[in-house]
């Protein structure tokens, strides 16, 4: 019995132990992050924004100040409250880390969804229609493509936070988390459209497309039902790699003050805050840095595994270093 390409890919993925290990690590991170409110309520008994300037915590039977007299926050206690220590306002770092990672992952995931929503129709239209449609779309996206993602992101996000923005029914205030999501999603559109356009152009001349056209299928239906299934591999592989880049870009944008605004935690916010406190309390920098490395490493390892499984011959081109 012959197997379809999807079940073959799944089998390859199941046999790829490294990819599975990274995937499991990422799944664990997602579960932890989703459980952030549960952890905050049941274990740490605080919220990510609650200050505890004068509180005390019991460690090994001894009462210890959360903030010392000089204002130095407590380091990791490895117990329920202040598991990873406190920050300079006496906030529980573990709680902030979970909420922050959640924000970062939501922004990254949302941005990739937005990219997909814009890039797939654009890539299909440009590749299938060709001619003037293609010229307009390609020139426009080349303009985005020819500028670095970070610079473009910082500029767009600064411009939007000058005024806020109104897109249809959605109003984005000047401190909103939607700004980095929107900006990252927009900046990555050409990274997805380019490979899709190329692939559609190659498919356009295939007999099955001509047959569908000859049978009188409308272009929109043809693109959705005949072409789209062939693009699934590219879409999945590029989405996974863009997700990794989006997470890193959020941290960089936020670090430059053009992403998530403190006190709302995100990994970028925590790293920036940790860097300014690193002399007195290195844990404030180390903890979010290690968290970001683990997220990127697990996601990257899994994404590469998915790529190996779906595209063993390496036909989907995606520049590794780009888009950061």
């Amino acid at each position: 019995m012959s197997r379809g390409p999807w079940s073959l890919a799944l089998r390859r993925l199941r046999r790829d132990r490294a990819a599975l290990a990274f995937g499991a690590l990422f799944a664990l991170i997602v579960v932890l992050v989703l459980a952030a409110p549960l952890y905050a309520n049941q274990v740490a008994h605080t919220t990510p924004s609650e200050n505890h300037l004068t509180d005390q915590v019991v460690i090994d039977g001894e009462r210890t100040d959360v903030l010392s007299l000089e204002g130095v926050p407590i380091g990791p206690t490895w117990q329920g409250s202040y598991l990873l220590g406190a920050d300079e306002n006496g906030r529980d770092l573990a709680v902030r880390l979970l909420y922050g990672a959640r924000t970062t992952l939501i922004i990254g995931g949302g941005a990739v969804l937005l990219t997909l929503l814009l890039a797939v129709p654009l890539g299909l239209a440009a590749g299938y229609r060709g001619g003037r449609t293609d010229a307009v779309i390609s020139r426009l996206l080349d303009l985005i493509w020819s500028f670095p993602a970070l610079l473009l992101g910082v500029l767009l996000s600064t411009a939007i936070s000058f005024s806020g923005a109104q897109i249809g029914p959605v109003t984005i205030g000047s401190g909103s988390k939607l700004i980095p999501l929107l900006v990252i999603g927009l900046v990555y559109v050409p990274y997805m459209t380019r490979p899709l356009r190329g692939q559609v152009m190659a498919l356009r001349g295939q007999p099955f497309v001509e047959a569908a056209r000859a049978a009188g299928m409308r272009p929109a239906k043809l693109m959705a039902s005949e072409l789209l299934p062939h693009l699934a591999t590219t879409i999945i592989v590029v989405s996974a790699l863009l997700f990794v880049n989006a997470v890193v870009l959020e941290a960089a944008l936020t670090f430059l003050g053009a992403g998530v605004n403190p006190p709302e935690p995100s990994l970028g916010v925590l790293i920036a805050a940790g860097l300014s406190e690193v002399v007195r309390s290195p844990h404030l920098l180390l903890v979010p840095s290690i968290a970001l490395i683990l997220i990127v490493l697990s996601l990257n390892g899994f994404a590469e595994g998915v790529r190996r499984a779906l595209d063993p011959r390496g036909t989907v081109s995606f520049d590794l270093g780009r888009g950061r």
Binding site: S146, P148, G257, A258, L275, G301, L320, R324
Partner: protein, 320 residues
Amino acid sequence: MISFAARRLAAALVTAWVASIVAFVLFWTVPNVDPAYWLGGGQKGTNETRALATEKYGLDDPLPVQYVRLMESILNGEIECFYSCGSLRDTFVQALPVTISLVLGAGLIAVGVGIGLALICVRHRGRWQDRLISTVATAVYSVPSLVLAALLWAFASYRWGLFPQEGYVRLRDSPWGWAKHLFLPWIASALPFAGAYTQVVRASLLDTVDQDWVRTARAKGLSEKRVIRRHVLRNALIPSVNVWGLDFSHAFGGFVLYVEVIFGLPGVGGLTANTLASFDLPPTVALAIYLAIVVVFFSALVDLVVAWLDPRLRQPGPST
């Protein structure tokens, strides 16, 4: 080659021009943002400062007139900040060598390490050296520059005092001081790229070593070293050179922004980051345009170098 160069430079000029229009529209004329509000000092401004700004920048004039006037003053370097900053163009030109040193050094390290490790991988393909290097390359690629820069600065410079905490020394004044100030920034910016390049070059080398012409070269009795150097490496590197060029030009609006802030380097990245954070409108537009010019110029330069290396790429229709 000359006609290719002319076409490529013309395309670069058009891109820079469109970018300047986009920057103008983005910051000067967004709906529901009143430039007079920001030019008149933002929250600290009064109705009088706003009226003054309206008059000074001629905000009541038609937009094309405002655009031309703003671009003239940006290119002349006459941009003024609300909180005075001197001539922005001169500051930018002074800061540029710092950033070029950073990007060029990081690029050389990334490409050198990438090629070197990939060659080791190919020589020992399938054995433990290959697997070790591939694994390390993936791991290194997963450490974002931002995190690496923050950790290196915080520990190696600040806490342990192994390297200077901030500042910059010109190469002309003291090569040793120059290298010492730039060493950690180079490492922080180059490592993730080195990891990525190792993987890309390794894959490309592995594709090439099985080609017929390589077998022919071996059959001719050439030494393995000569086969790799003259026949495999040259052909395998051509696709990568394009990627490196784009990465190089994009670096001027990429990692330099935060690496220079973290290491306190007085380059264009730090300048831009600080200006953007101050929410000061004219210098923001000016810096956006200056950086766009730098990125577009280096993209064009890189394309010319690549075309010079590989004549097949001189066909009409540059990619960017």
